[in-house]
């Protein structure tokens, strides 16, 4: 009995190189594709309906293919204004949040100082606080201080919630850096300022860029906090929300496709640059 059971195994040639895919492998492959489909289906639908030849105000059922909406992007001047608002806010908030967050990240990653634990706690509170809470409390803060809500308060709010994300990404990068490298720069005659810009900054640049991208992405599609702090200023997400009741025009899908396309492009560029950096 035992010899019979051992027989086929012993006789089988040892597997070398590629072995036959087993059930587990197939399952894993199927699962991977399923997750990708789940993630990308909404995006695919958004892109598709930017090419929908719809006649009515609603853009929910497929009517045929057309590229006409791409030529008529500017049909709604208030939509164009909202997109411009969003881009301006995102650009300013990204620059400010990246500058502040980089400083915070370097300080937290490199130095030990009084109040470090508190700063850590505040950062994570800002990251984990529900947006609705932050939006509502910011609105009551602005109202009680008598600050008129609008473009400026949106920028302030966006800087506030994205600065922690920048700080966390930069800190991770700084923590992985040998502190002796900056000392070496000082030792070789660089002032503290020169050592930072010539050595530390180029080394943490990938972290700074990742933080900036995160800040931009968070800002451009924020709805909840912008709704509370925006006053009469309308951004791209707010405009779409307002248009839902009367029907979202296909131009929104087209703009969404463009923003998604830029995002993909940046991600690809980053990957290529990363590969080149590693040689």
């Amino acid at each position: 009995m035992t010899s019979a059971a051992a027989g086929p195994d012993a006789a089988a040639p040892p597997h070398r190189g590629r072995r036959r895919p087993r059930w587990g492998d197939r399952l894993l492959r199927a699962y991977t594709w399923l997750v990708l489909a789940w993630l990308l289906a909404p995006v695919a639908v958004m892109i598709a309906f930017g090419f929908n030849d719809t006649r009515s105000k609603s853009n929910v059922s497929w009517q045929g293919f057309t590229t006409r909406w791409w030529g008529r992007l500017g049909d709604y001047p208030d939509l164009t204004a909202a997109v411009v608002n969003s881009l301006e806010i995102a650009a300013i908030a990204t620059v400010v949040a990246t500058a502040l967050g980089t400083g915070m990240g370097v300080a937290l990653g490199r130095y030990r100082f009084r109040g470090q634990g508190g700063t850590d706690l505040m950062m994570f509170a800002a990251i984990s606080a529900p947006e609705i809470v932050m939006g509502a409390s910011l609105l009551s803060l602005f109202v009680s201080l008598g600050v008129p809500t609008g473009f400026g308060t949106i920028v302030l709010a966006h800087v506030l919630f994205s600065v922690s994300f920048v700080a966390v990404t930069v800190r991770a990068r700084v923590a992985g850096m040998d502190p002796a490298v900056e000392e070496a720069a000082r030792d070789l005659g660089a002032s503290a300022w020169a050592a930072f810009w010539r050595v530390t900054f180029p080394m943490i640049l990938p972290g700074v860029l990742a933080g900036a991208l995160l800040a931009f992405a968070l800002s451009i599609d924020d709805f909840v906090i912008t709704q509370f702090t925006g006053g009469a200023t309308v951004t791209f997400p707010l405009w779409i929300y307002g248009a839902v009741r009367i029907g979202v025009p296909p131009q929104v899908n087209v703009l969404g496709t463009i923003i998604f396309g830029i995002g993909v492009l940046v991600a690809v560029l980053n990957a290529v640059a990363g590969r080149r950096r590693r040689g």
């Binding site: 002796a180 000392e183 070496a184 070789l188 005659g189 020169a194 040689g279």
Partner: protein
Amino acid sequence: MTDIQQDMAAAEAGDPAAAPVPAIELAGVVKEYHARGEVVPAVRGVDLSIAEGEFFALLGPSGCGKTTTMRMVAGFEDPTRGTVRLHGRDVTAVPPNRRDVNMVFQSYALFPHMNVWDNVAFGLRRRGLPREEVRRRVAETLEIVDLAGRERRRPRELSGGQQQRVALARALANRPRALLLDEPLGALDLKLRQAMQGELKRIQREVGITFVHVTHDQGEALAMSDRIAVMNDGRIEQLGPPREVYERPATRFVAGFIGTSNLLAGTVAEVVGDLAVLRAGEDGRVLLPAGDHLRPGGPVEITVRPEKISIETVEPVPGVSAVRGTVTDASYLGTANSYLVRLPEGTEFTVFEQNVHDSGLTARRGDTVWLSWQPQHSYAIGSRTPS
């Protein structure tokens, strides 16, 4: 020193009457850290004077304060008390970028985003040297460390030994008054480490700069340095040339840290001529040169190196130290035999015997043997007889 050399050194110091000014001078340097309300001393008072062109080693176990001492010379740590002088100039409050010394870091700390050439040129460019001069000096320094032809490589494309030489070149290119090396060979494997020891000596001779070398490896310190400062617990235990530190350890710590030492405590039985005699067991004796401090009845602790001791089965001739013991372990090590011998009062001696006979081991475990050595190889610890 010849008259001419002395004149030159004095002229450099700017005072014709003065002795040559040391390259590096530490006076009463103390470094304390504050952690959770407690004062933690790292360096407890170091006085040190390193001469121009010297190859100097700071040797000690980890945590002894040697790296902190070096970092105070470089300017990365501020002394709590005391003064640091470079070529006579007080630099205690001068930031590292304005001190005329350069450091080779243990981790090399090369700039990963720059190629070899830019790494080496970094210091020269910071000092604003003309482009032609930078180019010339980088090429020259890369030649010295044998890295010519690898200018365009990034640090991560180089082997550990090559990275080490880039770090060395980056510091040397500035022609500092002194070069500080923090465990420079610590990250290399044994073969490469031995090769680099010779290489560092050669480079130091070639450029003629003062080298200060921090290490926990006694073999490295003995092989490379003109003088060694042995540090322990924030203090210098002994300072002297390798031979003196090895042959005449000033303290128990130095005796134990550098090489293997056999320690024996006893009382002086008598002083005969210029030799003091200690009794060891029933028929054993230890002879050592009698200094002023050795008197009959006085306590003394002696150390003797394992390779100075002969192991024999017959009683040695008079006029040498001779103690009887039992072999507790005997091992064949290739170039030498090593024995552990228990003396009557319980202390164990380590003995090395060069493998010159083809008879194998002189004694086996359990054998009773005689250990003997010359009087001048017994060295009383805590006393410093002039060498």
